[in-house]
Each structure stands twice: as structure tokens, then as C-alpha cells.
Amino acid sequence: MSLAIEFRGVKRSFGPVQVLHGVSFAITPGTVMGLLGENGGGKSTLMKILAGYLEPSAGEILVDGQPRHFRSSREAEADGIVLIHQEFNLAEDLTIAQNIFLGHEKTRGWRLDDEAMRATTAEVLRQVGLQASPDTRVRQLIVAEKQLVEIAKALARKARLLIMDEPTATLTPGETERLFALMAQLKGEGTTIVYISHKLDEVERVTDEVVVMRDGAFVARQPTASLTRHAMANLMVGRELSDLFPPKEPAPEGAPLLQVSGFQVPGWARDVSFEVRPGEILGFAGLVGAGRTELFEGLLGLRPGSSGQVQVAGVPVNLRNPREAANEGITYLSEDRKGKGLHVDFGLRQNLTLMDLKRYARPWLAPAREKEALAAAVQSYGIRTGDLDQRASALSGGNQQKLALAKVLQPQPRVVVLDEPTRGVDVGAKRDIYFLVQRLAREGRAVIVISSELIELIGLCHRVAVMRGGRLAATLQDERLTEEELIAHATGTR
């Protein structure tokens, strides 16, 4: 049942840039293997090659000892190799069931067997813990739900080797737990699993073994039990990593910079009130569907019918669209990188400066100055790219995230809302982002962090607001700011 895979000298280049430099290692059948590496290290590329989405420039892959050459994902799937993509691959206009069976429709003669497909879909959705009708259009799902659909899609394929490329990047603890249970079950049934994640605590919990890649090459392979998280991190970045979080600074005093009261987002949030002071880092915790993202989208005028009182520096404002928010000095980093965060078909430069074009247009745009800005951002955010002129779609997931972050910080906002700011970012870069966030606060900006990683919220924030079912359940700070308290308020057990 289990599938044995071996990479032999796998190389891959994109144009002049070589991203895999002859990777060789084997995956032990029937285990859960963690694949670690910095952003842009080549993990996704290697796995796309394994799953038939890309071809290697050189080298080969052995499946159960036989060299196999997949020319399409369909061929790989025929061998039982299924990939859950890091970037979603869902047709937004189709329903969940239609997406899950796309290309693999069940038919009865000529006709699609929608009944059967719906039934199976309902079953896999139940397994991943997504409460949505199979007939819901994917367009209507929120990001975490789309991630669950991706997982469900892979489940429906009956994989013998399941590759999960950062499946939990947008999931909250509840869904993550359920996913782990599922993985344990699959492993028990003999499925081999490759698990890519930058959340080292998860890697520590669920994997039997880790393989580390750096700069497109194999670095190390160790039983998980023999490694601490710290050791994993050091292996990944190739140097000694000190503390992940900057030392906390005392919560600032003074008048609030952003004050929101009685805010409503139809269908998502009811009667939410909160405030942030300059220099303060305010976290938002909650389960998937708690309405955190939607609250802030409503606040920026992106969701029709939202209402409530908003004051910026004591002055009442009516933000009808993100432009008006930007004029008040408020910017928002979306959790949906591909759909809302970046123009993947644009160059890096055009993406970076889009929110701050005023600075580069006087009145003519100055590409030279934009290039300088890009060079500076690449430097300070650690964006790894072979070529500054390429399109954003050519960046690895984590590097896209860094670019998106750089973009919303370009206009020097007074208030910045970061929705899952470290989604898909490696530990080294995560640390940089945490220090960056603190620097922003120190400069007197108000920072709001929405995150599904509780440790991140606890390590970084002065206060954390917990949302449940569209309402603010509690705001925790100081000694009450613990994982147990957060979960208790988020799930409503307290």
C-alpha cells in the first residue's frame, strides 16, 4: 500500500535561475516526513515535480524502486501521488463538490452522477471538519475554508502518497487538530505523508522524520525525536537563531489612535468595539469564521452594509473604501495573498509601490526611484529572488508574503492591520517580521495583528482581542494572555 519514493539528483531551473541543485533523498514508506527549508528553498518546486506538475531539468524519481517520469498530474495521481497546493487551485465559480471532483467526475453513463459526488463530498468535508454544503460556490468561502476544501479534495483522491504544502498556514488550532487526527488515521491506513510547514511545533508533533533543504539542496535528514525546534530552525537557516520574539516593551499610555465602537458587518460581526493606541500592538484571535478578517474588511469599506462609529485620532471618520482608509493612514494586509494581496501578473516593483505611487509620481513616475525602493525592500524584508524584473508569480509562497507585507507598509501607515502576516514565512523571516512589527510600534504606529498562531499573538502583542461568532468575547493582556485562556474564549468554553 505504502509508496516508496526516491529522488536522485533532481535539478530544476526557471530560465537562467537554477532552483534545485541535484536533490537526492528517499521518503520512508508509511511515515510522515516533514520537509523544512527557508522560503524559496525549493520545497514546493520539488514536490510539484514529484506530483507531475513540473518536469525536472535533470535527475530522476524512483517510485517503488522504478524510475518514473510523470508527464502530468494525472499520471502521478494514477500512481497515488496527490499534492495539496500551497497556493489554492480552485475554480471559484464552481461549487465545492464540483471542484473536488474536477477532472475525476463520477458518471452514470453520459450523465454526471451528482448525487454520488455530493455524498462523497459531504463525507470528506465532514472528515476535515468543514460545515458547508457541497453546493456552496467556492467564491463564497473564506480563506481557511478554501484550504480545507483543498485538503478534502486530496482526501477524495485516495492517495498513497499525500503531499501537504503548508496546509495549516491559514488554519486555526481547531481545524489544525482535526487535520492532525486525520493524518494519524491516514498514516494508520498506510498512506505516506510529506508535510511541509514553517510551524515547527506542528512539525515536531506530527512528523516521524524531517528532511531539511536549503538553497535548492538537501541538507540534513534526522528523526524528529532527535531534534528540538531550535535545532530544526538552525538547520533551516544554517546559522544560530536567537530568540524568536523581541523582548516585550511596556504597553503605551495615551489617547487611542483608532477607536471603533458598535461596529457591524452584516452576517459576520455584531457590535464590536475596540481601540488601539499609538505604539500598541493589538492582536485578534478567534476560530475560522469568527469574523476577524471580515470585521476589518468591513472597517475598510470592503463589505457593503457595514456600520459603526470609527474615530481616527479622535476625529470621527466614515471609511467607504480602502482609499479613504489609506488617506487616514490605515492600510490592510489581506490574508488572501493571491486573491487580494498581490498582482501576481505584475512585476515586483509595480506591486511594491502600488499603494504609495504618490511618492513616485511627481507627476511622472520615476522607474529608477521605484527600482531603488524595490532593492531596498528586497534587502530589508529578505525577499529571495533570482531576478528583480520577474513577475510576482515567480516568487515562492513565503517571498510573496514578504512582498505583500512590504507593499502595505510602503505608505508609512499610522495604523496597520496585518492579517496573518507570517503566513507561509520561514522561521528566520518570521523573526524578522516580529522585530519589524515591534519597530513599527516603537515608531508610534498602531499595529493590529490577526493571527491563527497563538504563540505569535502571545509573544508579540500587548493585548489580544478574542472573537467568537462575530462578537468580541474578551480582551486579554498581561498574565491572562495565555494559550489556554485564548482557546477557552475562542471556543466559548469560558
Binding site: 506538475y53 465559480d93 453520459w110 454526471l112 460545515q131 481547531g174 452584516p266 452576517g267 475560522v288 469564521g289
Partner: protein, 335 residues
Amino acid sequence: MPPAPVESRAAGARNAASLWGKLHGFGPVVGLVLLCIAGTLLNGEFATVDNGLNVLTRTAFIGIIAVGMCFVIISGGIDLSVGSMAALIAGCVILVMNKTAGSLGSPMLVVALGMAVALALGAAFGLAHGLLITKGRIEPFIVTLGTLGIFRAYLTYFADGGAITLDNALADVYAPVYYGNLLGVPFPVWVFAAVAIAGAFLLNRTAFGRYVQAIGSNEQVARYAAVDVDKVKVLTYMLLGVCVGIATLLYVPRLGSASPTTGLLWELEAIAAVIVGGTALKGGAGSVAGTVVGAILLSVISNILNLTSIISVHLNAAVQGIVIIVVAFLQRGRR
């Protein structure tokens, strides 16, 4: 940690949204009903069975083409050439029928041959479009803008600038295809209904239809799902070509001739029917039923304009334009 009972909220918000969605889906139907009421008020004769059948019969051409167009548009394509294609097919069919009339004996056989030619030509033209678009990787707009010129030029050439006319004897044999009826309902209406039902079935109940929607929604995803995107696209254009062929089959017995002005601007009408029917021009989702309603709605507008004389004849097009915009407004916000 308990696997939490997730997101009742998300579901709640969606339910509200989908109710609205449903209402909006009826935009064209609401528009059609309002138009019919207006028509009846303006002229009592509007609401008669005869008039209704007349309108449906004449909608058949555009309606059948629009059903095919619906697939092309949902898949993210477009075809500007359908009017010219219909004209050229009509011309060729008439030429073939006239030529074989002597040699083939039975006029029934000749008519059958003509019909076969129409369908074959439609499929062939569609195939050519599909191949140029997928293998040649040229924008559908450009390909079909080019063939729009080419088809019409060749018809003009064959007709030597004038008209190609069906022999009278044949015309009489062929006429019932348009003028005949079954159970009091004219043949073209039956054919239209059959094409629409088959189209709806194909779109919603077969893997092909599913792929068409997937490609229009996100071509990359469809490729990743191992859908043979090129093949499906080629098939949509062929399907449209066959629909044009069918429409031509009904057109020829009606007017019995083809000339350089035959089918002029049908492409706009067909596309308008699809879009008024609620399909987005950028593809991904749409419905055959909406398209049918859209096509009927467009003919009802001109029918009503014919029935009344309240405004200057020069302003007919303005009224049509306004009604189209208003109907589209009724179902806005689905984007």
C-alpha cells in the same frame, strides 16, 4: 483541545447572500414579465397565442445560436463571426441544393443533403476557430473578427454581390421546415426547445459542461485538474458552429435566399441574449435557461415596437438600448 464546532457565522452569511443571488437570477424573467405587461397594455393583440408563437418562432434563429454562444462565453471565449457564418452556410446550402436538384431525384433527398451540409460546415468552421484559438494561441476576438470578414466576403463572392436564391421547387418542399407545425406549435419552436433542453443538459449534467465552466472560471485550475482544455475549447466552438448550422437550416426555408446582408449583426444579438440572460462576459458561470429568456426578451422588445407607433421609427434602436440596460440593471450585482 476540542475540535471546535466551526463557523456557523460563515454559513449564515452565505445563506442570506444566496437568497439575494436567487432573486437576482430572475432579473431577465422579471424584465420579460414587465415587458409583456407593457406590450399587452399597448396593444391587446400582443397577448394572443398567434403573436406569442410568431415571436417564439422568430426567436428560434438567434436563440439557437445563443445557446451555442453561451458555451463559448462560459468557457471564456467569444465568437464574433456567427452572423457571417450563418450567411455563408446558408449560401453554400442553397448552392449545393440547387446544384444537386437535377441529379439527385427526390427533392426530399436534396433537402436532407442540404441539411447535412449545413451541420458539417458549421462543425468545420467551429473546428477551424477552435484550432486557431488553442493551437495557434490567438485571441478568440481576433480569430473570429478575421473570419467574420472572410465568411462574408466569400458569400458575397459566391453571390457575385447579389443574392443566392433557392429554386422554387425546392423551396416548396423545404418550406414546411419553417412554416409547418406540430400540435399547433411551429417546427422552429420545437427545434429551439430541443436545442435549449439539450444545451441545458449538456452544460449541467455532463462532464463536458462541467469542464466548460471550469475552464472559464480558471483555466489554470482546469489544466491542473487534468482537463484537456484545448479539446474542450475546440468542442465549444464546434458546438456553436453546429448550432449556427441548425439555425441556418431554419433560416433558409424562411427567406429562401442568402445575400451579403444576411445575418448582419446576429453576433451582437446572440451575445446580447447570453449576457442579458445573466452570463458574465468573462466566463465561468452562466445558464442556458437565462440565455433562452434573454433571446426571447430581445425579440419581444422589437415585437412590441412593431405593434405600436408611439415613437418615431428612428428611435427604435434607442428604446431597445434602454430596455437592455434596464434589464441588465435588474440583475446587477451578481458579479
